[in-house]
Symmetry: C2
Subunit: 159 residues, 2 copies
DNA sequence: GGTGAAACTTCTAATAA
DNA sequence: TTATTAGAAGTTTCACC
């Protein structure tokens, strides 16, 4: 996949939209001293190029009653079962991310739950999958995010 | 923090917006057979209640040249240094998430990088932080997401 | 590439039900 | 809580730089 070339204006547009996707194009245009039409065309191009995949809301899961985060390392009986187990994992609700990894674990996932009890239930489901040898849980006591905005800045500085 | 009560309509609105934050309120209204004004009021309420924190773009980091994901477990010399080390970690670019955890590691982070070489540089920065005893890296070979939409469905089914 | 204006669509707040 | 409305605002297209 060819690397798409973004210029300074594209960066600035992304920068604004990453913070708030509903920012009016006219507002962006004013800030960047370009026309709203230009903003529109550039966003469309980035969408067509697949740079912008979509947009999403950021919700406060704590307020919804889901404050518990754990990471679970999964050890498999046989590496060949990876695909099968991964499919099963993806069917478990509240498992939000799963990675096949090198290193200590075969598969590595993130669980978002209500509380310890709820998380235990989810981890039991993981443990019960055929081919899973054992799991190792790490409970998150504190989450600290370098948000997307910061990541973008890191990337743009390098590009 | 009191748990906010969302009804079926709120769920449906969130459901649509989670997929595309720029969906016109009039479109949402049509789908749900309510008026656009109602959609507007409800979204505003959820924003005011802090359920909706914000909105963000989803970008294809692979297309931007950042296809490499690793998880790094950090062991500290002394637990009391957690706060200090966490602050330092948050200053390292390309470390996108950091968690203080119970279990195997003291701190656990996610690194997004260009390639192995780039990741190595970032992990060296982690290793070099005063108070860090050693780190353990897990390289992601394959990422599989149960996206926000699925998480929301899990939550709504339970609420 | 970009602009600016026209035509069209959507938002938002106020009022009424 | 919801519906209706109307002025304000935003989007999108297009002819022209």
């Amino acid at each position: 996949m060819a690397r798409f070339r973004l210029d300074e204006t594209d960066h600035q547009i992304l920068d604004i939209l990453i913070d708030n996707t509903r920012t009016a194009f006219t507002d962006i245009a004013k800030k960047l001293n370009i026309s709203a039409g230009t903003v529109h065309v550039r966003v469309k191009k980035m969408e067509e190029a697949g740079i912008i995949i979509g947009s999403s809301l950021t919700l406060d899961y704590k307020k919804l009653g889901y404050a518990f985060i754990a990471y679970v390392g999964v050890f498999l009986k046989k590496t060949s079962q990876t695909k099968f187990v991964l499919e099963r994992i993806n069917q478990i609700p509240f498992v939000t991310v799963a990675h096949v990894t090198t290193g200590k674990f075969n598969i590595f996932c993130k669980v978002r739950a209500k509380d310890t009890e709820h998380a235990k239930q989810i981890i039991f489901l993981l443990d019960d999958i055929e081919g899973v040898y054992r799991t190792e849980t790490m409970i998150s006591l504190e989450e600290s995010l370098n948000d997307k905005k910061r990541l973008m800045h890191s990337i743009f500085k390098e590009l």
